[in-house]
Amino acid sequence: MMMRNYDIEGLLRRKNSIIKKSVGLDYDSFEYDGIGFDYEKMMESTGYSFADIQRLQDGSMVGRTPLLELKNITRYARKYAPRGYGARIFLKDEATNLSGSFKARRAAISVHKAKELGYEGVIAATSGNYGAAVAALAAKHGLKCIVVQECFDSAGLAQPEILEKARACEAYGAEVVQLSVGPELFFTYLDLLDETGYFNASLYSPYGIMGIETLGHEIATEMKEKYGKYPEVVVVTNAGGGNLTGTARGIRRAGGKDTAIYAASVNLEGLHMASDKDFNRKSFTTGHTGFGLPFATNPDRTDVPRSAGRPMRYIDRYFTVNQGSVFFATEMLAVLEGLERGPAGNTSLAVAFKLAQEMKEDEFIVVQETEYTGAGKHHQPQLSFAKKNGIEIRFGKPEAEIPGENIVLPKSARDISLKELDLDRIRSSYLKRYRDQSLTDEDYRYLADELRVDTEKIKALLKEMKA
């Protein structure tokens, strides 16, 4: 019987064999003896070179999106910067990709791989843009597609943004499986992989991450060719870590060794992601700290044994911004630059607007994505949905925003403010699970690579934790 009432224990016991069958990669072959694994070996295991990835994306009408200079927004930011400050703000208009977001870059590679390996269909677990991307690319390759969404709370309410994504997936011919709030989504996902034998188009496979490398590569190459230098800063909206990882790898690949990679997430501190009550008290379904922090401190909490998205290997600085400031940035992009784009993609824009003011005026800061906008996926339905759910919308200082209680819109662009996260605290939470373990030299070297510090620093952080 299809969609049986599965038993969680049974699925967990068979988890590894189901996953192995569904990704076409033998993750065991990357494992070290101790805690770590060979990340670069895994990234090279796809059988695709960077040139292959570019060719596959070109063939799918994905990538090579415009890099736009936001002259009016730069001018606006400079009003609040000291004389001689206010970096030039650029934006990579990823909304122009097939299906409307950078996620098409990931899907192009995953779906191609599925086709090449002879799978009949693909499955992805996502309530976001990735669903539409996989559905669109599956349509193009003539494969079947199932998208599994965490969608409704127990009152039957769903974020308008998620409903829009379901509609888009259906429009591309996919089957959408909508679920209640809760981490059991993973079991449904396993059950469906098991039932259908489809390819697991995981967001976190090496295919998915390699697909984003072109994004970083395009930014670095185009800036260098047009302006004679790599950008000083690229700001990346961070959730599961794949966007940041792929972009950073692509920039490095293109030669942008000194470009700083800044992560940006919407601050949703205090809201529990698996809580039925909290689910609809947030106005962002991605790009927020509820994903950004857990995935930074434990990247392998995904639907594959080892995630290819490992943000802490690349982050130079990590900023959070409140929901109200992102809505303000969304409005700014529309009325000053004529670009109506979806709010979640503008998280990094809100951050860049503020950071540009601390940078010199001959420096470059790049906002690395935009996403499409449409019914549901727009600040007006998102704010009216929040109001209906009892969230207070008001003007004030963004620092006063309490996620789940209110949304504080800045009353002036001057008031947009950021919070910088302490990377050592994130590193310590990553290391917590090794606190009582005796580690080998190889383990320490692995952790040093994972957290982008030296082994002495790892030892010091662990020691500090024990004290």
Binding site: K79, R167, A174, E331, G376, L383
Partner: protein, 111 residues
């Protein structure tokens, strides 16, 4: 697609419907999840064409877009999209006015 039959509302075979299925009852939810979530069932909603005549809120089989056959309770016939551009939000208009005034006006903090 709703038809009359023996006093109850029959839904014709082939109608496009949304079904609901309970997957886990409240007591059987995964371990370690927030308490509020453990108190509610874990459910699933899928759309497809009815494989046989059915009745609203009764169990029926559907065929989904990928061709899978799924059983569940019929929740909705010819389900409509309920999301939109939302109600007027005056705060957005106020932000717009602020942005245009600040960006194009001459109030420069350095002057």
């Amino acid at each position: 697609m709703l038809g009359e039959g023996n006093g109850s509302m029959l839904i014709k075979k082939g109608a496009y419907v949304r079904i609901r299925k309970n997957i886990l009852p409240p007591g059987k939810r995964a371990k370690g999840i927030p308490e509020d979530t453990t108190k509610v069932p874990f459910k699933c909603w899928i759309k497809g064409r009815l494989l046989e005549e059915g009745e609203l809120y009764e169990e029926a089989r559907i065929q989904t877009a990928t061709g899978r056959v799924v059983t569940g309770e019929i929740k909705e016939v010819e389900p409509r999209h309920k999301h939109s551009y939302g109600d007027h939000v005056d705060e957005i208009l106020t932000m717009r006015e602020t942005i245009l005034r600040e960006a194009w006006g001459d109030d420069d903090e350095k002057l």
